[in-house]
Subunit: 190 residues, 2 copies
């Protein structure tokens, strides 16, 4: 289980470092209390003006999971997960206070922060997740019956991982960290 | 210090639950190793296609911090922090693979996930942060000298908190969690 010890809660760095995008799940249920813990961590994310422009739709029906996998361009592993969470941004809610910047930027950032909390919470309980962003929004909206003012921003399958993928590479800190002003990677000395 | 015990690393739920938006900082430095730990946690966020469309500009100059505070509509607490991190999304980098959806959605989500990791990492080391999103993008771009293809998405002051604010309220899980399909809050029974 790749360093995951059940029954022990991971510390922050371990969780951040150990989280993977899991695309294969065991046939084993996620409990209601695990699910609620994940959502609780989501709603503890910060949001612009504390507007909390998020809604979470919990999918357990095999037919609906299949429809989501289709809407996600055939990513069939979505169907394997016992629970799939569709995260929706209520752009209008943020726009009422912050206008277009609120809709286009803040509501997307706020829901993304919630999602990241959820991925870490799930991982720290030994559960795997995958942040699926490649999907047809209109199709997903139809499947979970959200109106035009709500934007589906992610599909998150949640379940016990069949296996944890190996870590994938990252651009090194020396390439992405800049002192005082931006300098393109070529001229970076560190 | 609101439950923060220095020298001990927080577990995930504690960190998610205890993080606050800190807007007042002590005159006490953040070490280079703390800073690099924060950035390291940032770059461990997931990103669409592992493209990692993030750049982090570290500001220590008082003049530049003042300019950022001005660009952020006078949020003067930004100047109090020993370190300010400007997070930039390289929308073109993601667009090369994912087109407009990549630029408008994925690059914003990916940088937001990185930011959330950074806030949790900082908090778990006893540091305070605030995710500042209300600012004039063009002004910030000028201050940190990023070109038009790069979008500043957040200003993050980092430092030892003068105090931790009390928790602020959240919409309850019963209002934001939906079973199988979206139902407006009014018709929610839970």
């Amino acid at each position: 289980m790749g360093g995951i010890i059940e029954g022990r809660v991971l510390e922050v760095f371990e969780a951040i470092r150990g989280r993977r995008s899991v695309r294969s799940f065991l046939d084993r249920d996620v409990s209601q209390s695990q699910l609620e813990r994940i959502i609780e961590c989501g709603i503890l994310a910060p949001s612009a003006g504390n507007i909390q422009p998020w809604e979470f739709i919990i999918i357990r029906s095999p037919e609906r999971k299949r429809a989501l996998a289709r809407a996600a361009l055939g990513q069939e592993f979505i169907e394997e997960a016992p629970i799939v969470i569709v995260v929706v941004a209520d752009q209008a809610r943020t726009a009422r206070v912050y206008g277009k910047r609120g809709a286009d930027l803040f509501s997307i950032q706020d829901t993304a922060a919630a999602i990241q909390n959820m991925l870490l919470a799930a991982h720290s309980m030994g559960l795997g997740t995958c942040w699926v962003g490649a999907f047809d929004e209109d199709e997903v909206s139809k499947v979970v019956k959200v109106g035009a003012s709500l934007k589906p921003v992610a599909i998150i399958p949640v379940g016990y991982p069949r296996y944890y993928p190996a870590p994938i590479g990252r651009r090194p800190i020396s390439k992405v960290m800049h002192e005082e002003v931006y300098s393109s990677k070529e001229s970076q000395r560190r």
